[in-house]
Subunit: 196 residues, 2 copies
C-alpha cells in the first residue's frame, strides 16, 4: 500500500506485525508526526518516556525501538537516511497555534488531524501522547533550551519502521510553521508486506 | 500540612489553587516523582511534551510552569535550590526493574506506588504519564545519550510549586537504584496555605 498525505493532513491505518512502514519526505523540509497504539488494546500507546528509558537516548535512529506505556516494544527503526527526529514535543494543535503564531490563522494542527483520523478506532483526543516527530529538527542546548529548526531532509529522504506487534498507526504531514521551515508539503508513506 | 514519605513509598493528596507544595530532600541524594491531575476532570494530566513546547526547555526551574495535555498550566515552580530535575523518564516500575536490575529483587517502584495512591481518585495505571522527577539528575549528551547520575542535592534542598488550579497530586520517594545513587531515603513535603 502506498499513499500521499496532502499538506496539513493526517491518516490512520492498521499495520500488522512484520510489515514495514516507510515514511518519505518527497520534497524535503517536511515533518510527519507518528503515533502507534496496540491493536489488541488501544489503551496501550507509544510513550516517549518509556522509549527514552529503554533506549537510553533521546536521539533515535536505525536500531532503536519505540516502546509503549506498558513497557512493550512496538516498532523498530530499520532504515533512516536522516538520523534527526524529535520525540520531545507534542503534536501542534489549536492551542499551540494560539500560543506561538498569534498573527496567523488558527489551525487544528497535527493534533486535530490525528484526533479525526483515530476516532473510528475508538481513540479519543486525550489518548494522544507525544508523537514521534519524524524528520523534526529540535536541537537541545547544553542548558536544556530547545529550538525548532527546519528539517535537514533532502527530497526522497526516508525512515522505515518494522511493526513488532499489530498496531494502529496515526500519521500526519505537519501543519506548523516552525517545524517545516514555514512551508507546508506532502508526506509519502508505503507499507511493505511481511517478509517471506 | 506536613508529611514524610518513607523510602520507596508514595502518596496522593489534593492541592488547592493558590496552595504551595514544597518537596524537600531531608538527607540529600533522593528523587521524588511528581504527578498532577486536574481535580475537575482527572483525564487532564501533566504532560512533559506540552511543558517542553511552551517552556521551550527541558531543564525546568524557578519561573517555569508545568502544563497539562490540554495545554493548561497546572503548577509554577516558585522556589528551587537545586535547578536539576528530570522530565524525560517514566516512573520506575516492575518492568524497569526487570530491564535494568536483573540481579536485584523486582520492586513495584514509583509506578506501583503511584498507581495504588491514585486509585481512590479513580485514576488507573494507564493514566500515569512521565512524571516530573524532582531532583533526578539525567544529563543529556550532545549525541542525545542519557545517563542517570546521583542527585546533586544536599540535606534540606527543596523545590516549591504553586498550584495554578485545583489538583490531585501523586508524589513518591523513589525506589530505583540508579536515580538515588544506590540508596533509598525519605522525602518530606509541606503544603503552605493560600496566601492571604
Amino acid at each position: 500500500m502506498n499513499g500521499r498525505l496532502a499538506p496539513r493532513s493526517g491518516v490512520a491505518f492498521s499495520l500488522r506485525k512484520g510489515e514495514v512502514l516507510k515514511v518519505i519526505d518527497p520534497e524535503g523540509g517536511q515533518v510527519s508526526d507518528l503515533l502507534a497504539f496496540m491493536s489488541a488494546d488501544t489503551a496501550e500507546v507509544l510513550s516517549n518516556g518509556r522509549t527514552f528509558d529503554y533506549e537510553e537516548t533521546i536521539q533515535l535512529t536505525t536500531g532503536n525501538r519505540l516502546w509503549s506505556n506498558r513497557s512493550n516494544p512496538m516498532l523498530e527503526i530499520v532504515d533512516d537516511t536522516v538520523g534527526r527526529h524529535d520525540f520531545l514535543l507534542t503534536p501542534c494543535s489549536e492551542a499551540t497555534f494560539r500560543h506561538f503564531y498569534r498573527d496567523k490563522p488558527v489551525h487544528r494542527g497535527c493534533f486535530g488531524n490525528l484526533a479525526e483520523a483515530l476516532a473510528p478506532y475508538g481513540i479519543g483526543p486525550d489518548a494522544i501522547p507525544v508523537a514521534f516527530n519524524i524528520f523534526m529538527n529540535v536541537p537541545v542546548a547544553g542548558n536544556g533550551a530547545l529550538r525548532v529548526l527546519p528539517p535537514e531532509t533532502k527530497p526522497g529522504d526516508r525512515i522505515a519502521l518494522l511493526a513488532l506487534v499489530d498496531l494502529v498507526i496515526g500519521l500526519t504531514a505537519c501543519s506548523a510553521y516552525d517545524s517545516c521551515g514555514g512551508t507546508f508539503k506532502p508526506i509519502d508513506y508505503e507499507i511493505e508486506p511481511i517478509a517471506a
